[in-house]
Structures are given as structure tokens and as C-alpha cells.
Amino acid sequence: MKKVNPIDAKFCRFLKAKNPFGTLEGGDNDWYVLEDSNTIYWCVKSNGAGGPDNGPVDPRLCISGRRCYKQRD
């Protein structure tokens, strides 16, 4: 995955990530997704790697349109 613009990507506001290089992403923080093969994702709302809809937490899926999606402010 390439560096993404979170507005264009329409990531859910509750999608969070820690990239392997220590940066926390999501929420108020910018998204970089520098190396998605080692980036850990979680949902703040469900407190884990499964979303509130029980689907996987994945930046390819935690975007506008998903049932549990919440827009960033």
C-alpha cells in the first residue's frame, strides 16, 4: 500500500495503526502506511482486530460505506 491521503481514503475515524517505525496513525494523527506488511491495525471502538461488525480491521475495508464506519471530524 502506498502513502495515502486519509481524506481520499475515507478511513474510519476509529481505525488506528502503529507502523513498524513507531508512529501511531489514525485519529488526529496522519496516515502514512509506510510498510503495510508490518503495520498493526486496530479499531478503537471494538478494542481489537475485529471491528464492531465482527469483520477484520483492515485499512482496505475500514472505509466509507462499511456498516460500522464513522467519519473523521
Binding site: P20, E35, D36, S37, I40, G50
Partner: protein, 772 residues
């Protein structure tokens, strides 16, 4: 921003040290010389909290005791995959001493599906931990059981149960979700591949590269699931009073926990205060509020009391992260002159129900190679989620890659160190190889398997790289107070690495005072925002602001003192806690007297991390250069029993300007010990029939004990790059990457047979030797 030109040390002392001229912000201090000319920085200053820790006075989150505090315990699933028909908490609620029971539910009231053994489903708050534990056992769940898979290879089969068998539907008003991930339209549990990286990624043509190659090495390497095992488990104490939630957290990121708690409950960040005075290790897994944070807060809100919710070791193993495993295919081509012509990488690994099981960037960037491709796949399994683990992916990736490089060297008839001299363009690793080989006695190494007798000696080495990253949202505040107190404040936390002490050293050096004059107040989100402690970013992020804030405070103080001494402030300096006029030594005052005479009771200054002098590779904080390391391992292998004993590790490292040589060496020791444990001991055992982790303890989950820890000699090489006012970087990640593969290479040198899977347990050695 106004700038000024200064000259800074640049290069490696004793090798190529020079100077570089940089434009820096006018508000920042002049360059420090190299460490040997400094009084406090670089020296082995004793940890601020050493006495408190060794005497037990240090209060970790688990030690918190607040008035009226309740103790909470999770109720967790005992099946790896099921839908929940119902949860009955009545008996638990009625148990004497229980104050509240909370069930995990979505905002819409939906119960979660169970996807791994140990998944938290509810929690009980009671007057004691024992009561909470007893009451939690009374919670009754009616499951609709489903098929599951915990093995990474079985999970890849087409008939394997789908871990996330949930159709993700679009909202009724439309939307952008174009993928339905129910397993049927994708590759089952396989996600990916990830084919690129910001730091490397695909390039050239593999076909062309392999055509050019004179030799090719093609292997599959396997690494195991490796849990974190910090001394202090995950957990929090939450005290939620109206308008103010206080969270005592064992965390690597006070700000991260604060932000998540605010987001979860939809409250202002200013209503949440996160405090982490001491954290007993994290190793990458303690960045979030977790499930325990919001749960403890809900229980606190429900009861009006503080709630303690720390996990036990079993919960820690099952549910709070681990280093994912890897099945790592590598095909590498090289010419007779050693130059690499092509690298093909493909990996599969599992982070359980989560993502992030790649093997990192080592193969992509360690050596120049014009033709490269990578495919890194995640494989979902019904196990708890993985987490970042000290250099995520890199230790796994290095285990394969640096063995393959050794194999190429052997095929070319070259010594492994000499071969890396040819293919490695890094100047710092060149120096590390030279000094490391000399200290280690690399010349003792003989041909693989040539030692006679049953007990064989072996010598191996390996290398690694780690990027220099900084978090720009890093601020420090310095206070000078009448009465003589000097404080530095930041929300950055110290998870045991020594952050408190290096901040004290930096401020003391800048102010020309002893380090014990400085009080370090960190780990509290009421202080200015500090970085997370992860990715080896904290030191490079927060120490420049600390120095710069101290410099500003010093200028203000000297301005005031100059009026009293009738001096030009520019002529004043501070040395050994004495302020004096460089042009007239009779004009002098002690530092403490100067503070006593300030016109206000406090001077308060702050500074945030400025951009690197000379700029970044990327504007968001990727610095130029890298953190290289080279490690050497000496092992003894008993070919009758298969036991491997690591006798010695020499670890040569760089972290820019080392701020506290004792702390750096301590970090290297820790990284090496964890690397050794990765190589020889630790591995998670999952029961395929039940989905349980069978060794979720510290008895059968083998960690090294003292007699299994070798002599560790570290070489810390100063490497100045003139990038900030401290020019310092972290060492946490680099210390851990190369150890396991250096040991694997040494085992090969001992027995003459390569072992492609860790941990290298006796059975693997005997199998490799065809003895079982």
C-alpha cells in the same frame, strides 16, 4: 524561520570525523562537541530511578492502590470460534463483593463473535481480585460453536475454516466498500500480498537478475511466534470522576492512551489524564488503550470508584500480542565478484486475527541489488492478535536473509565479513565490522563443521539496519525556580530504557550543572506532548526539545544575571554550577544564588522538535542515514545431545551521539538476550484440537535463565550527523535484529549443517545431523 549558520561534528571519531556547516533556527543552541569533551552527556550516569526500582519503592501501575479501589477481572472465551447466543451475568452480579459486571458489546448492543481462545467477553469489578476472579467464573455463555484453524499452514488451505467469515456490507445509502470479505471472494485466510514498501519495494527485473547470476541460493526459512513477556503485564487503573478521567497506565504512549480513551467515550482529551510514572517494559505491544482501558473506565463509571485492571501472565500470552511467525522464501542471485543481481522474497505469517506479519525491509535495503521483488502475505488464524515486537518484521526477515548472504559468501569462497565488505556500502557498518571482528577474535573462525569431537565450536556474524525516525510532535518544558529547583517536563514515558535519565543529562549539560540538580517529570499527559516510545524514536525526538528549552531558559537567566553583574549576557557562561563572566572572572555567582535572585519565581520555557538540520528524507520525520549494527556470536554445540550454548556475543552498534553509554549498553544487552531467546528458546505452542495456547506461562514458555546468558561485549560507535541539537537516536530496535541469525550462522559453522528454522532446539540439531 530565521536561521543561523553553525558547524557541527560530522562523521565517526577515529575514522572520518570532520565538521559540517548547517543552517539552524536562531533559537537553538550552538553545537556540542563530540562526547569526550562534554561533562555529563555520554557518560554512564546512574539511572534516576535506580534506587527506587531496586528497593521496590517505584510504583508501577500494578502497584497502584487508591482509596475505594476495586479490582477487575476479565471473563474470556474458552473456545476459538463461535457465535454467542447469550451471556448470563446474573450469578456474577449477585456474588458477594461484586460491584459491577460489564459485557463487551458494540454501541448498538451487538455481542462480539468469538475468534480466539482468551478473547475478552466481559469483566467483573469487585472489592478484591480474588472475588473478581471467582465471580468471573460464574458468567455463563451459550456458544454456537464453529470450525476454526490455528495453524498457519493449515489456514492457507482452500478448505480451511475462514477466520473472519463475516460479510462486510455497505451501508444502505451506498458507499465505497467494494470488497466483500467473507472468504469466498478472496483467498480465504490469506491477505495480500504486500508488494511494496516506502523504503525499498520492487525494482528492476528478477528474470534479468537471475540470468546474470553465477550462483543462486534458494531457501525457505521459518521463525516462530514469539510473545513479548514484559515484566509488567498490560493494564490500567482508571479513576473516572465527573469531568475528569485519570488513567494510570503501563504504556509506551501516554498520549496514545489518552487519545484513544477520549475517542472511545467521545469526550474531550482535556478530560483524560494518563499517568505512567514507571512502565515495566513493552517491546512494542503497549501503544494502545487496549480492551482493558475502556473496560476499566466503564467499570469505574458504573461504580464511581477507581478500578484496577491488570492482566495476568496467561492473559498476556494469549491476548496481548506477539511477534508473528514467518515462512520466508528467499531466492538470491550473485555474480562471482559478489555483487547481488536479484533478490526474490515471499513470506507468509500469522498475526492471528490481525494483520502485520511481514518480514520487514532487511532484504529490501541492507545491500544494493538492482532487481528485487517482495510478496508478503498475512494469514489469518484463530489466535489472539499479534503486535509490534522490537523491530517489527526485521528479526524474522534478517534470520533468512543474513543466512542466505552467509551461504553466498561460502559458495564464493569468501569469508562472511570480507564478503560484506564488498557488498555493504554503509560506512558505519564497515567500522562496526572492523572493530567487532577484532574484539570478537573473528580470525579464530575455522571452516564449517571442521571442529573435531562431539562438542563443537562455531562462530557467526550478521548485520542489520534500522531507519532514523523522529516524531515531530515532541515538546519539552524546562522550569528554573527560585530555591534552586530545575525541572524538565514532558508526557514522554520511560518504559525502562532510561529516558528519564538522558533528559536530566541533556538539561544538566546545557545548563552547566550537575545532573542531580535536575528533576525529571515525565509520563503525564498534563505535561507537554511527548512522543511514543517505539521504533527507537523517543531519544531522537524528545532530547533536542529538552536541550533547546534548557537553552532558552539559560538565556533568560543569563539576561537577568548580567544586569546584576553588570556584564554583557554574551560574556556569561555556566560551568560547574557557577555563572561567570568570561572576560572578568571576578564577576561570578553560583547557579543556585542566581535562581534565588530571579525577578519572578519561575522561568518557564518550552521547545518542540524542529526539523532536522539539513532537512529530512521525508518531511514527516524520516532522517537521513540509518542505524547500523553488526553482531558476532560464538557458540558451543553438543552434537550428542543437540544443545546449543551461546558463549559470547560481540555487538557493535551506533545510535548517533550516545547520551548515556551505560544505558545504551544496557539496551544492547536486552536486545541480545531477547534475540538469543528467539534463536534458541521461546516459542508458542498452540493446540490444534482446542485452539488453546499450551504454554501460556513462564514455565513451559522457555525464557533464558542467567546461566544461559552469554558474555556480551558491546561496542558503541559515535556517529555524528549534525541533524539536531543532540544528534542522538535510539537503540532499542537495532539491538535485537541481528542476534538470532548471527547465532544461526555460528551453529552452522560449528556443525556444518544449516538449520533453517528457529528456535534451534536440540531436536532440530540432532535432526540436522541425521541422529534422530
Amino acid at each position: 524561520m530565521d536561521t543561523k549558520k553553525i558547524k557541527l561534528p560530522y562523521g565517526i571519531p577515529g575514522h572520518n570525523l570532520g565538521e559540517i556547516e548547517r543552517d539552524i533556527p536562531v533559537t537553538e543552541p550552538p553545537a556540542w562537541p563530540i562526547n569526550e569533551k562534554l561533562k555529563v552527556v555520554g557518560k554512564p550516569v546512574k539511572r534516576y530511578d535506580a534506587l527506587a526500582k531496586v528497593t521496590g519503592k517505584a510504583k508501577f501501575t500494578a502497584d497502584m492502590q487508591l482509596s475505594g479501589m476495586l479490582y477487575a477481572k476479565f471473563f474470556r472465551s474458552n473456545t476459538p470460534k463461535a457465535k454467542i447466543k447469550s451471556i448470563n451475568t446474573n450469578k456474577a452480579k449477585d456474588f458477594p463483593g461484586v460491584y459491577a459486571v460489564e459485557v463487551m458489546k458494540s454501541d448498538e448492543g451487538e455481542l462480539p463473535e468469538v475468534k480466539f481462545v482468551g478473547q475478552p467477553l466481559a469483566a467483573v469489578a469487585a472489592s478484591s481480585l480474588a472475588i473478581a476472579e471467582e465471580a468471573a467464573k460464574l458468567i455463563e455463555v451459550e456458544y454456537d460453536y464453529e470450525d476454526f484453524v490455528v495453524d498457519v499452514e493449515e489456514a492457507q488451505r482452500s478448505e480451511a475454516p475462514i477466520v473472519h467469515a463475516v460479510a462486510i456490507s455497505a451501508q444502505t445509502d451506498g458507499g465505497d466498500v467494494g470488497v466483500t470479505h467473507d472468504g469466498s471472494q478472496t483467498n480465504g485466510n490469506i491477505v495480500g500480498p504486500s508488494t511494496g514498501s516506502f523504503f525499498g519495494g520492487p525494482r528492476g527485473s528478477l528474470d534479468e537478475g537471475f540470468k546474470e547470476a553465477d550462483i543462486i541460493v534458494e531457501r525457505v526459512y521459518r521463525t516462530q511466534v514469539h510473545t513479548h513477556v514484559p515484566l509488567e503485564t498490560h493494564g490500567v487503573v482508571v479513576d473516572w470522576k465527573p469531568g475528569n478521567m485519570t488513567v494510570y497506565a503501563s504504556t509506551q504512549s501516554t498520549a496514545g492512551v489518552r487519545n484513544e480513551m477520549a475517542e472511545y467515550f467521545g469526550i474531550s482529551k482535556s478530560e483524560v489524564r494518563v499517568i505512567s510514572e514507571f512502565t515495566g517494559g513493552g517491546f512494542g505491544a503497549k501503544h494502545s488503550a487496549g480492551v482493558f482501558g475502556p473496560m476499566a473506565a466503564k467499570l469505574s463509571k458504573a461504580t464511581g470508584r477507581p478500578v484496577w485492571l491488570m492482566l495476568d501472565r496467561k492473559e498476556e500470552h494469549m491476548a496481548e500480542g506477539y511477534r508473528p511467525n514467518s515462512i520466508h522464501y528467499l531466492k538470491i542471485g550473485a555474480k562471482k565478484n559478489g555483487n547481488l543481481t536479484a533478490i526474490q522474497q515471499r513470506s507468509h505469517g500469522t498475526a492471528g486475527i490481525a494483520l502485520g506479519a511481514g518480514v520487514g525491509r532487511i532484504a529490501q535495503v541492507l545491500y544494493e541489488c538492482p532487481n528485487f521483488s517482495t510478496e508478503q502475505y498475512d494469514v489469518y488464524t484463530n489466535a489472539g492478535p499479534g503486535a509490534a515486537w522490537r523491530a517489527p518484521g526485521n528479526a524474522q526477515g534478517a534470520f533468512g536473509f543474513e543466512q542466505a548472504i552467509d551461504e553466498i559468501a561460502e559458495k564464493l569462497g569468501m569469508d562472511p565479513v570480507s564478503y560484506r565488505d564488498i557488498i555493504d556500502k554503509s560506512e558505519i557498518r564497515k567500522v562496526e565490522r572492523q572493530q567487532g571482528a577484532e574484539k570478537f577474535g573473528w580470525s579464530r573462525r575455522k571452516a564449517a563443521g571442521s571442529d573435531s569431537g562431539a562438542i563443537k565450536k562455531g562462530f557467526g556474524m550478521a548485520q542489520s539496519t534500522w531507519p532514523r525516525f523522529v516524531t515531530l510532535d515532541s515538546t519539552a518544558e524546562v522550569r528554573l525556580m527560585q530555591g534552586g529547583a530545575v525541572e524538565i517536563r514532558s508526557s514522554v514515558q520511560d518504559m525502562g530504557t532510561g529516558t528519564k535519565t538522558i533528559l536530566g543529562q541533556v538539561v544538566a549539560e546545557e545548563l552547566g550543572i550537575p545532573v542531580d540538580y535536575v528533576t525529571v517529570l515525565i509520563g503525564d499527559t498534563y505535561f507537554p506532548a511527548g512522543p511514543a516510545s517505539g521504533g527507537s524514536v523517543a531519544t531522537g525526538s524528545i532530547t533536542p526539545p529538552a536541550r533547546n528549552a534548557a537553552y532558552k531558559a539559560k538565556l533568560e537567566l543569563l539576561e537577568q544575571v548580567a544586569k546584576k553583574l553588570k556584564s554583557d549576557p554574551a560574556n556569561l557562561t555556566i560551568e560547574d554550577a557557577k555563572i561567570f563572566d568570561k572576560t572578568d572572572g571576578s564577576k561570578a555567582i553560583s547557579f543556585k544564588d542566581a535562581l534565588q535572585g530571579m525577578r519572578t519565581s519561575q522561568i518557564i520555557t518550552n521547545a518542540s522538535r524542529s526539523d532536522d538540520y539539513g532537512g529530512f528524507k521525508q518531511e514527516w520525520g524520516l532522517a537521513y542515514g540509518d542505524l547500523g549494527s553488526v553482531q558476532f556470536a560464538e557458540v558451543t554445540v553438543d552434537t550428542e545431545t543437540g544443545f546449543v550454548k551461546v558463549d559470547k556475543i560481540v555487538a557493535a552498534h551506533s545510535c548517533g551521539r550516545p547520551l548515556n553509554i551505560a544505558h545504551v549498553k544496557s539496551q544492547i544487552n536486552g536486545g541480545v538476550i531477547q534475540g538469543l531467546s528467539f534463536a534458541l528458546y521461546e516459542y508458542r505452542v498452540m493446540d490444534k484440537q482446542t485452539g488453546f495456547m499450551m504454554n501460556a506461562n513462564v514455565d513451559q514458555y522457555k525464557l533464558p535463565y542467567s546461566m544461559e546468558i552469554p558474555e556480551i561485549e558491546s561496542i558503541v560507535i559515535e556517529d555524528y550527523s549534525g541533524t539536531s541539537s543532540t544528534d542522538a537516536y535510539g537503540i532499542g530496535e537495532p539491538a535485537n535484529i541481528a542476534t538470532a541469525v548471527a547465532i544461526a550462522n555460528a551453529v552452522y559453522n560449528a556443525i556444518g549443517v544449516r538449520i533453517y528454522e528457529i528456535p534451534i532446539t536440540p531436536d532440530k540439531v540432532l535432526k540436522a545431523l541425521n541422529k534422530i
